[in-house]
Subunit: 306 residues, 2 copies
């Protein structure tokens, strides 16, 4: 498949999947949404997106199972990683010989899971930098950002990568095709591991409070240094200066609540394995000492299992 995908399935139609899927559908793509709680509302009313003070709607093909959707050219996966075990059941009905699998999920290990089960040659990944919330059945509110970093799993970008990137770009999503997807994931983890983790581990401190306290800021930096060391040992070089850059950038964010802290406060599942567990396991297997990350991971496993 070298041209744009003709048919797209969105698996995991939470805020993220619904938003990107709605953008593609509005641009004319044949997008089929797997829905659970919102199925009836979306069949009746389509999807509604509120952004930049305006609101737009798009009719949406909503299905209750991937068997009803059938084989497509591209599967966009927006599932919470805590539900990854469901993929084994959800994906097979969507596959034809050349179906591509694009995971927009958080953290590490998602591309590997797809590759193991359905072949590495199908797998792409994307990092989403976007603030969204599902405010009612089928209604997504957009608060800002929205860029997508898109790449191949374990390969440089190909013609098909550019085609998918163009499809997203044309739908109004600022999309960058990246040379090394997994390095990008590690760069994102350099921020997510300390801030998402310590915000929960401290009982709900926002980013400004984590930085205002000397002792906590030292833990942020220590966790960033461990993450960079793990990435480096795995062949994903990130310079030490990235720490200062991320700290400075975060000062400007003020009393920001990391997404995992919001999940935790609302009693939703927290993506502990993909954000802390898998980076620790991979770094540990590469022989890197990661005592802070290990302790944080083990505590988060416990405090988020309610």
């Amino acid at each position: 498949m070298n041209a744009s995908p003709k048919t797209v399935a969105v698996v995991g139609s939470g805020a993220l999947g619904s938003y990107y899927g709605a953008k593609l559908a509005r641009q004319g793509a044949d997008v089929r949404f797997l829905m659970r709680a919102d199925l009836e509302a979306v069949r009746r009313d389509g999807l509604t997106v509120r952004e930049k003070g305006a609101e737009w709607k798009v009719p949406a093909q909503a299905f209750g199972s991937t068997g009803e959707i059938g084989p497509v050219d591209l599967v966009v996966i927006g599932l919470k990683t805590t539900a990854n075990a469901d993929l084994e059941r959800l994906i097979p009905p969507l596959l034809h010989e050349k179906t591509l699998l694009l995971t927009l999920q958080n953290g590490l290990g998602n591309e590997e899971l797809l590759a193991q089960q359905w072949g590495a040659e199908r797998v792409l990944g994307g990092l989403c930098f976007v603030c969204l919330n599902r405010v009612a059945p089928g209604v997504i509110e957009y608060y800002g950002h929205g860029t997508l970093s898109l790449g191949e799993f374990g390969r440089a970008p190909m013609e098909r990568t550019q085609a998918i990137g163009a499809m997203f770009s044309e739908s109004g999503v600022e999309t960058h095709v990246v040379e090394d997807l997994i390095t990008e994931r590690w760069r994102k983890l350099v921020w997510n591991i300390p801030f998402n983790g310590l915000s929960i581990a401290t009982g709900g401190r926002t980013c400004d409070l984590l930085l205002a306290d000397d002792g906590l800021r030292a833990q942020v930096r220590g966790l960033m240094a461990e993450t960079i060391a793990a990435a480096g040992a795995l062949g994903h070089a990130i310079p030490e200066s990235f720490i200062d850059y991320q700290i400075e950038r975060t000062y400007s964010m003020g009393p920001y609540k990391p997404s995992s802290m919001i999940d935790w406060q609302l009693g939703r599942a927290v993506e502990v394995e993909s954000i802390w567990g898998e980076p620790w396991r991979q770094g540990n297997a590469a022989g890197v000492g990661l005592p802070r990350l290990e302790l944080l991971y083990q505590m988060l496993r416990q405090v988020t299992s309610r």
Copy 2:
């Protein structure tokens, strides 16, 4: 002063101070208790101790200020370490030229504080292994154990140490005079740092649960190893085999709640600085890398400051 102290003041008459003070008073010592909330009840009814299925009472000299108590031969300090700032005001009225100060408080740094303010030559310390609870004003319930390890601060035991030890022994408290008090404190911290800390950091896991989970048990061992490394660098050698011994011993304790976890669950102050902060500061100043302890300490500072 080479003979037993003639007059004793108990500062911090919670469960611990009240229990040991009541034992001494029952044996005939002149013990004067500084009381706050329980002052009227104890003046009226004395102290009541329930132990081993029986109950005994002893009249108690209770005072509302150390000024009313006046100079004594021995001050027994049972204050929570979180109230250590009060000592500057409480101690001076109790001092004559040879008054001894015996801290029965938890963790590190308490002897140092007394020594700095009132002279190292006055200072002794004790480690209490006892399960107590104040169940009503002036009423202490004893659940078990009760040994006291008594030592000089920065010196080998002296004649006076033996005299004070004998006084406690004769009152029915199993007392051991120890050669190196601070090494004993570090040995106790090898248990308290991981179990008291992780029980809070995991949102309330009892000791059996901390050991049942492979990932958490690895953190227990990691924190024990860091504590032993810090102690060793500070001249308090503890063999690595102490880790296995403590782990095995703790399995036999079942679903035990560490004291700091109980404090935390009841909304009481947690002794973060003496159990985690001071060991980290001392080990860090000695050049030992203590990443797990540092992260745990910084998180506990936050989650216990409610």
